[in-house]
Amino acid sequence: MREAILEVQNLSVEVSGKRILNDVNLQIFEGEVHVLFGPNGSGKSSLIMAILGFPAYRIVSGRILFRGKDITYLPTNERVKMGISVAFQNPPAIRGVKLGGILKHLTQSEKKINDLLTKVNLPVSFLERDVNFGFSGGEIKKSEILQALAQNGRLLILDEPDSGVDVENLRVLGNVINEALKDRSALIITHLGIILQYINADIAHVLMNGTIACSGHPTKILGQILNEGYAWCEKCLKIRTQRCEL
């Protein structure tokens, strides 16, 4: 029987007293790649922050299991050490904290770091840069993927790895991610689904107003969104009390 790597059960989350996730349910099995669509502000990044356990994202109800263990109230660093790797959408710049220093903390292997640098097409000198400080949009994405891969978790969480990246770099990143997914599970947030040109995803979900409105085949769902926009999902939410399954 396949084992679930990540289970989000009836999760409701508040930030500063405002409800941002409502009764979210998500189950990712070993080896599965899930894609999360949703309009701006629907709660996609918030779901990731809640899975990671950022304190501002207060769990109101529900729980999060990682490989069967309840991690709902574990500190972030303990969660990631259990096997979660993450690439953020808008990571903060930290003066004086070198990218190389973070990578060394994630992996002792210098060879691995150098291999990853080559894969994402960044020079070794990049390790001396203050993390995210003055990085271009493409450099941020590369540095985040680099860190996520150095983290080497069984579950890869990628928040919009394809936004703000030019075609050339998108191809580089798409291929790197595709290769990484061969032996990992993933939850990938994508706004426009461009990353789907490079990877095979198993299931897609649409998050609307903090709740999963719809789950189904990634290309079918993306097709609907591209044709009708998220208005289609909103309509769907209103018509059906049950979640829409495409």
Binding site: F54, N77, F88, H105, L106
Partner: protein, 407 residues
């Protein structure tokens, strides 16, 4: 010189406009007597303390060395290959040797500025004279140590540094004390003359004790195309520190830069500023300060840019990190433009460690306290100062050493 004496006598009760007013009669004027000796023969503890402030016992990595303990100059020497390039000696010796030196004495700083300058004139305990000769480029740093070995001592030094035209040098000055010293007052007057086309980088590190007071008074004059870079660091607790060094960019294209890193701990009262006056065409200035206040420390971080000529430009960047609710940082950036076309700007920001940064690093597997320590250390990263690489490495090593235990 009697004019100076008279002015000092009139100012001996004059408080400084900044910082707590000290009763200067509470300190002792009875030092221990130290005979001249090689640095390596000094007691181990003194050597260890000196190393902490960047003063090395081995001579090979320093072009010249000056070492003063209490009121006695115990060592001064120039490494052989730098003879005829630099001069280093006690300032009393230099004043005897060079008649012209009186034209550099109390010429940038007023003897009657406050009671501390007055004290340094009336009770003057040596100090160093460093001169980089014309067109000489000194590739490794010169060093000076001002050490206090007697509890409750008052040490007043007056230093003169001259970078002759076309010369280049780096000087590291470490001020520190013996572990048995708890109280005391250090007054340090330093006058810098950076002549045409000269480059001088001056790095000062202070390590004092919990009940110790320090009142440095320094000023620099920079001539045509000259560059003066002053780095100041203080990481250990002390009772009070107040200083407001000034650089006068007097020549065409003269440039000055002040870099300050302060880690205020315990109940330290620290009032430190940097002032740059742009007096000629093409003058440039930059003030960068990084202050961290924890425990019950109070830090006033001042900065003043004054543009007195058109076609001048300067920027002031003052950042503070507050690590405790009992601590305080008061940032006071000031700009005075006296000529049309003077471009002056400042930015000041004080805050706590960003939660977002902590969370980001925790998502990379660091614990909360590891993340905080990394961020604080990063805040004090000296690479932003644009120093020569060897000096940058050395200063970072001192920052790490000084803050290693604290973080």
């Amino acid at each position: 010189m009697s004019e100076n004496k008279n002015a000092a006598l009139r100012a001996i009760n004059k408080p400084s406009p900044f910082g707590p007013d000290l009763d200067i009669s509470q300190y002792s004027r009875q030092p221990k007597n130290w005979e001249p000796c090689p640095i390596s023969s000094l007691p181990k503890e003194i050597l260890e303390k000196a190393i902490e402030v960047g003063v090395l016992p081995e001579q090979e990595n320093r072009a010249a060395t000056f070492f003063q303990i209490d009121h006695s100059v115990i060592f001064k020497a120039v490494q052989e290959i730098f003879e005829n390039k630099v001069e280093i000696m006690s300032v009393k010796e230099a004043l005897k040797k060079y008649v012209w030196l009186k034209d550099y004495w109390w010429k940038i700083i007023s003897v009657d500025m406050d009671k501390y300058t007055a004290l340094a004139e009336l009770y003057w305990d040596q100090g160093y004279f460093i001169r980089i000769l014309e067109d000489q480029k000194v590739t490794i740093p010169l060093q000076a140590c001002l050490f206090i070995s007697t509890d409750n001592l008052n040490q007043n030094v007056h230093n003169i540094v001259i970078a002759e035209p076309g010369s280049e040098a780096q000087i590291i000055t470490g001020c520190t004390l013996h572990s048995t010293v708890q109280r005391g007052l250090h007054v340090g007057i330093t006058e810098f003359y950076v002549k045409e086309d000269a480059k001088l980088t001056f790095t000062m590190i202070h390590n004092w004790a919990q009940n110790f007071d320090s009142r440095p008074r320094s000023g620099a004059i920079i001539e045509d195309n000259g560059l003066f870079v002053s780095n100041y660091m203080c990481f250990k607790p002390l009772k009070s520190l107040q200083m407001y060094p000034v650089a006068y960019c007097r020549g065409v294209n003269a440039r000055a830069r002040f870099n300050t890193i302060i880690y205020g701990v315990g109940r330290s009262y620290i009032d430190v500023g940097s002032k740059i006056v742009l007096q000629n065409e093409g003058c440039r200035g930059e003030v960068i300060s990084r202050t961290i206040a924890t425990d019950e420390a109070k830090i006033y971080a001042r900065g003043l840019l004054q543009g007195e000529h058109s076609d001048t430009k300067a920027h002031l960047e003052c950042r503070g990190l507050l690590l405790s609710d009992e601590a305080m940082i008061y940032a006071v950036p000031e700009i005075v433009a006296k000529a049309k076309g003077a471009e002056l700007s400042h930015e000041a920001a004080v805050g706590k460690i960003s939660e977002e940064q902590i969370q980001y690093l925790m998502a990379r597997g660091f614990s909360k306290s590891e993340a905080e320590a990394l961020i604080v250390r990063g805040f004090m990263d000296v690479s932003i100062f644009g120093l020569p690489k060897n000096l940058e490495k050395e200063i970072q090593r001192m920052v790490d050493m000084a803050t290693g235990g604290a973080l």
